[in-house]
């Protein structure tokens, strides 16, 4: 693990709270969005720098920073990225920039607080991707809850937004319990059977935990605790119930962030499988089964929705299922496809939820009953929605294609039946998306709100063009992404191989 001389990752995480502080010093609340935007743009530059300076040939962690934080508990401030996480940084920042721009005129009440919370959420999300100490990771993990709670409660668009906020927070806190216990269990294992002064022997550093093998019976416990903890966030069926509520009641920006950043699945890839490799392989059928159930259940429920936002939420559940299935194959294609798909989501799911937010802002509803004929008045919005939809379906030429191709390929190879079910899920995906698209965007106009609506403004269009360009770039040049993740993914597979 080479130590970095320049604390690049800390800077990436820390300039955001500084920007949030500046917002409160600015004399005019209207400046808040500008400060937020500029901070996020600066952060984007830093994350791009990290990506450029990243050495894809090395499988280890890079830009590592290590400082003692709570010495009496042996908790460290330890951050670093490898090929699996480095790409998430610029995409996360990009998603937040898109969210800031999308909220530009729609957020009128308490703008300072809104942008402060967004920046803090962004900082915590980036921290999740960088943290290499399990307790530091947990800190960032739980820190995301506070801004999300406020953002849903105060700026949600549904009448039950406060219920949605409490539901989300409580489900996440409950999920946090097994997660923390999993990490404690790992630390205890390292401390061994030594008594007295145990706290000094506890270990939370992820790279060192990887190096200390776990006895078999403990692996099962760790695997299930961590699986449970991350499954709530992913979400994995049947722990997904917060997602549709959140999509309906929360603000579009939060729905975009929550479906765009698949933190739960990232946690599964980063922690659950590598820390309990034998148990993960033993229970591969569980992962695959949960994946298949998620694919089909999500797709069927998406098919039965009449509102675009819950439809997108269930489609997200379906896509998470496919990623889970890809992970359960434990092959290079599987993991690379999974990572590709997660990166893809940041752009696709984030973008499509923002578009549905734009639509809601104009029409006051995203129910297909009150839509219809949107394409006539808002061709650009419709085109954007269609493009993102194609990427979500995995049409060749979009970034969804290489991802889904790799995932289904590996699934067919390792769990043939499940792979066939996944194929069926893709077909269903086409059905629900095109069905909803036809009813909402095509056909005659009958709602006056639709007739009077204006198309995407320049600012909104710019966001969509950037995200759309990324989708095309990912679809046409998938190798750039795959090369970055390859070495780390091979390392990930190797941990599983000897068993």
């Amino acid at each position: 693990m080479p130590e970095a001389g320049f604390p690049l990752l800390s800077l990436i995480i820390m300039i955001l709270p500084v920007g949030a502080g500046l917002i409160w010093l600015a004399p005019n609340p209207a400046l808040a969005r500008w400060i937020a935007l500029l901070t996020a743009l600066l952060d984007l530059a830093l994350t791009l720098l990290a990506m450029l300076r990243f050495d894809p040939a090395s499988g280890g962690f890079q830009f590592v920073e290590q400082h003692a934080w709570v010495p009496s508990l042996n908790i460290e401030y330890l951050v670093g990225v490898d090929g699996m996480s480095v790409l998430f940084l610029p995409l996360t920042v990009l998603l937040f920039i898109a969210v800031i721009l999308a909220s530009w005129t729609s957020v009128r009440s308490l703008p300072r607080l809104y942008y402060t919370l967004l920046l803090i959420l962004e900082s915590a999300s980036l921290g999740i991707f960088c943290a290499l100490d399990t307790i530091l990771f947990f800190l960032f993990w739980e820190l995301t809850l506070v801004p999300i709670f406020f953002l849903i409660s105060l700026w949600g668009i549904g009448p039950h937004r406060r219920y949605a906020a409490v539901k989300y927070t409580l489900m996440m806190l409950t999920g946090g319990v097994p997660l923390l216990f999993g990490f404690l269990l790992l630390a205890f294992n390292h401390a061994g059977t030594a008594t007295g002064g145990i706290t000094h022997a506890l270990l939370f550093s992820y790279p060192e935990l990887l190096a200390s093998p776990l006895p078999a019976e403990l692996q099962t416990a760790v695997f299930f605790l961590l699986l449970l903890g991350f499954a709530v966030k992913a979400p994995v069926f049947p722990l997904h119930t917060w997602l549709p509520t959140l999509a309906m009641e929360g603000p579009a920006s939060i729905a975009a962030i929550m479906t765009g950043l698949k933190l739960g699945v990232y946690g599964l890839i980063r922690f659950t499988v590598p820390l309990a490799p034998a148990a993960a392989q033993e229970f591969h059928w569980l992962l695959a089964g949960l994946g298949v159930i998620g694919i089909l259940y999500g797709a069927l429920l998406a098919l039965s929705q009449t509102n675009l936002r819950p439809m997108l939420a269930f489609s997200s559940l379906s896509h998470v299922g496919l990623v889970l299935l890809g992970i359960s194959a434990f092959t290079l294609q599987g993991i690379q496809g999974a990572l590709f798909q997660l990166l893809n989501f940041t752009v696709v799911a984030g973008g499509i939820f923002l578009l549905s937010g734009f639509l809601h802002h104009r029409v006051g509803s995203t129910d297909v009953v009150s839509l219809g004929g949107v394409a006539q008045r808002m061709p650009l919005l419709t085109a954007g929605f269609f493009l993102f939809g194609l990427a979500a379906m995995g049409v060749p030429g979009s970034s969804g294609f290489p991802a889904e191709f790799l995932l289904i390929l590996s699934a067919l190879d390792s769990h043939t039946g499940a792979g066939l079910a996944a194929l069926a899920g893709v077909v269903l995906g086409t059905a629900y998306f095109l069905g909803a698209f036809r009813r909402a965007f095509l056909g005659p106009m009958h709602n006056t709100a639709v007739i009077e609506a204006v198309d995407l403004r320049r600012r909104e269009l710019a966001v969509m063009l950037v995200l759309g360009a990324l989708i095309l770039a990912g679809g046409l040049f998938p190798n750039a992404v795959l090369e970055l993740t390859r070495v780390s993914s091979e390392g990930w597979i190797e941990r599983l191989a000897p068993r």
Binding site: L143, S153, R162, L173, A191, T193
Partner: protein, 515 residues
Amino acid sequence: MDISELHWTVQAGYPVLATLQLLPLAAVVALLLLRGRRLLYPAAIGLALLEILLACDLYRLFDAASTSLQLAERLPLLPFLAYHAAADGMSVLFVLLTAVISLLVVLYAKVKGLSGSAAFLAMVFAIQATLQGMFVTQDLLWFTLLSAVELVLIAYLLQRWARAPQDESAMQRYLQFMGIGLLLLLAGTFMLGWNHANVTDGQWSFELNELSLSTVPPELQGVIFFLLFYGLGIRIPLFPLHGWLPLVAEHGTIAVAGVFLLGLKTGVYALVRFVFPLLPEAVLRWQEWVVAFALAGIFYAATLALMQVNLRRLLAFAVISHTSVLVIGLFSLSQTALQGSILLSTTFGTATAGLLFMSGVVFRRTRTLVLSRLGGLFGHLPVVGTAFLIAGLSIIGMPGTPGFDAAHLMLEAAIREFGAMITIAAALGNVAAAAFLLWAFQRAFLAPLPEGEAGRVIEPPALLERGIAVLIILILLGTGFYTHPWLNLLENAFNGLPELYAAAPHHSGMPVAMP
């Protein structure tokens, strides 16, 4: 158990602990003399700040690396009673908290419109003096007597400054419960002294180091344990001995009495200071029962908290629920456990104080804390709302607040002592606390203003109210992101307690590799 002591002359140029107790007493006299003068309130603030400076000086002088009791002072008064003060890390922590909380109460007096009342301000300092005395004394009888004084002082506070239709019944309930608690405590204290006299041929003493030298026969340990434990349990308050709290919370003063009673956990302190070292066999014998009751208490109180319509009662049940979590930590009886639980009890204390202060600020505007009549306050009182939320999050143990590291230590210890199931239940208790605290926060601050209250004008927070809120936020977040000095302070506290219990056979010890 041998307890070594360093006399105050070794470390300091003046008797810090005595000064810490005498300054507030002097303040009482000074404030009463300044009755009606303009200088009264500034003097009170100045004196409270001076006490904080003294407490900081104690922190500076105190050597956390040493295992002995430090800055000891001893003055024999009666054949069986001596003034004997000394500090370990635990005392230092509580002394600091007492000083800070007293300052907050003095500031809050202005919010409450009592900044001109010499009697009220003097009462605050009188309570501060007794609390500081309780946190540094090494004499059990002294502690018991001081807690009697404290309870009388708080009763006076409740009687004079609580204005509610039913404060008679609240007052009665308070006196009944506390009176019984004190009697039990006193009885336990005397039995310990009597046993000491028995062993040493008529030498009566209640000093901790003396008492710890004379072993208590097992059949007596159980009785004394229950006398002391129930006596303190009423004060803590421990389920099912908590009956006074909801009433006092509903009808007493919102912040002042509550902050002293609930913010500074003297009961928890006394358990660790006196009961654990003196009665190890009884503690181990009844450990499982205590934990079983605490587990029931977590969920009983959490359920009741969820059903409350009044924020004041809700906070009372919140306290009962989280003290139960605390008790599980305490009875895990290892170094980690004690470190975590003591830190957690100061965290809970600060956070509870924050919740009560902020409720008080809200009450001054709305004249009610019935949840269905609150709402829409966040836009008017953003700082107050934020302080309320951060205090609530500290109780839940959210990372970034001091509750996290403390709860983390406590859970680690509890896994070892009781296994995973009980510990997971305790952690879920925290989730339950999140449920009612977040719910209360939403009802009070985020929900729209209820119909019929639409005409209500909410004044923006005054500078002082904002100051209190910001202070609470800074204390909680500051200690939350940097717990190291406080953990360090407790590293060598507890005078060999962990070793005492590590040597004894445990009933339900769990091997390290679990489940």
